[in-house]
Amino acid sequence: MSTIPINLEWLSDCSGCHVAIVDLHEKILAVLESVTIQRCPVLTDVKDYPKAKLGLVSGAIRTEHDRHAAIEMRKSCDLIIAWGSCAVYGGIAGAGNVHSRQEIIDAVYTGNKTTGTHTPPTREVSALEPSVSPLDSVIDVDLYLPGCAPHPAFVFDALLALLEGRSPRTATGESVCARCRRKMEKSDVDRIRKNSEGVPDPDRCFLSQGYLCMGSVTLDRCMSPCPLNGIPCSGCAGATMQVLTEPNRDIRTEIAERMSRLTEIPREAIVREIERTAKTHYSYTMATPMIGEKPTFLIQKWTDEERDDYEQDHNH
């Protein structure tokens, strides 16, 4: 196997996808034997974009700089992988999309409680784009590897598969439930509980207990660590293929279907609750048209209504 040249780039993100590669631990040597890393902000000081077979791009498009860097990566690489939930869906930065660019600037610079100055930076920095968008809104993407961060096993398998010219073995369409060992069973729970409420039964499905776990509608790119450790899934790897590809299937209706059958909570009450807490439940994926442009998806309306109700309750 000859080594193939690869470029890595990060846009607006936390750098966690790059750290997750280091967490291949000993296995990273197997990868390094097969590839030649050229541009990679973590490891090398290569500043330009040399020609490469493969390009891994993490992060969302938040600034003009991000857009430019994405275009340079496309020009320099034969294949582009959108790497991590930010590149694939916009990720957590995309949760800024229910706010205007100005509201974000205000929160940080002009109306911030511990900030004495009242002007945002004016020189040297790259302007924010009006909204956050995923990588494929700017360039063509050949492969998608969501996950926040994708578990190193998926990264490893994806890279080896590409080198060996086969399909990745691990990239199945399974949901987070596939590896979860909790038992789905009928209960008489009749109201939704916040994740912090009570102490959940470690052996029973969160939905059966009234917790809004997103495992059944979330793609497994993580090995299900959350439900295995007592935490309901929060959907960081994005929705399953069924939800992404069918216009009328949605995270909230899918969860409501299952949960209403497992509990005494009415389906409509579950749909309504997820809409009321839409920013919590759609935080990682709202910036992608695959979710954001579904005919049934009205996140701006839901979040505005919820905020208006709060402000009304607290103004008198």
Binding site: W10, S12, D13, C14, S15, G16, V19, A20, D23, H25, P41, V42, L43, T44, D45, V46, D48, R62, H65, H68, G91, I92, A93, A95, G96, H99, I104, D106, A107, V108, Y109, T114, T115, G116, T117, H118, T119, T122, R123, E124, V125, S126, A149, K194, N195, S196, E197, G198, V199, P225, C226, N229, G230, I231, S234, C236, K279, T280, S283, Y310
Partner: protein, 473 residues
Amino acid sequence: MNKTITIDPVTRIEGHARVFIDLDDAGALKAAGLVVNELRGFEKILTGMDADRMPLVTARICGVCPTAHHLAATNALDNAAGVEPPPAAKLLRELMYMGHLVHSHCLSLFVLQGPDLVLGLDADPAIRNVVGVVQAVPDIAKKALRCRSIGQKINELVGGRGTHPVTSVAGGIAFVLDADRERQLNAWIQEAHGLVLELAPVVKQLLMKMLDANPAMLEQWVIPAWSVGTVKGDGTIALVNGEIRAIDESGARKAQFPTADYDTHLSESAVEFSYMKQVSFVEGETRHDYRVGPLARLNVSDRYGTPLADQEREEFVRTMGRPCHANALQPYARLIELLYCTERAQEIMASPEIHGETRVPVKFSGGRGVGHVEAPRGTLIHDYEIDENGIVRAANLIVATQQNYALINTMIAQAATSHVINRPDDQALLNAVEFGIRCYDPCLSCATHALGAMPLEIVVNRAERPHVIRRNC
């Protein structure tokens, strides 16, 4: 090194971290600083979300120190709900954190600073990286990387995940320690401790050698400033729970306060050339620059509380003085913390309380929750306003690198004065600036929510004519 006098549009907006130096027609310094070029705006992103998501969502601020955000968030939520987590939960959180610090400090010492220490500041930039270190000292490098790996594995076994841990929740920890995990943790902690004992003297020797070869580091590259860190009631260093203490340049204690009072002592200000804000310590009408991180923690605290770390601390204070303001000694302080982490992890595992219940129920009845930890790079504060339905209505964050930012910019100005204005020596300037910045180990992901490493580029604007100095391997 590649020199050019035009700024290609690619490089103009390229690189999350860039340094600029503006000189006037006479060649005198007008302005200089580190430009950080990403903003995500978590202060706004967090509003309207369920409070119980904060430990998960805020970890995504930074992939380099997610565990620090994860735990600062749970401290804030505990305070908002007015609950005290069970002793076992506190110990497990601290253990997760010790693993994280071992990973983070090893990364900083061996991968980021290792090349300077092993190969020297004047080594060819093309080999001055971690690969060069592996080739120069394969046995040491292998052990150092193994130690980082174990730290991350401990973090993952307790935190559920390595990058972006999940198990710390309002009211405690979401799982109970079983015999399998306990056995594995003990084995890893023993191994890490053994590795640290082997590595510490080697790193210290390399650092001392570099200081001997570059006397300017201890003579000129010294910026007296206040220090801020976290201590327990008796003055012992605290990383996960404690009060914030500030001392002045001479070491006199100026303030000690609970986290929630941070907003009466610390004041942020925007910088015109960067998305990262800087922070100063307010004392009446005066604002003081201050440093946070391992060296500041050593300066403010009276002891670490574990035998080997305290022994090394005495040696540090005897030879270098306290408070110490030499940035070049940040790696030494980081090394002492590494010793502390593996010693403390053993104490935690030996504590019988680690086997108890790990979680108490929580209800948010409306109010403010402020929490902080000592992140690998310094004090990290999360402040949430939470309504009676458990929704975050306002959020404020002060992260470590912001607090070192004023000193980083001062250091750049000093380097520009000594290396550009009187001695137009690009290589010396690059070395001085780069080494100085790296001593602070700035985590720019946290600060503005972009990146951690440094493809460094310096732009010198001499009478409006830009001159770019950058590394091109």
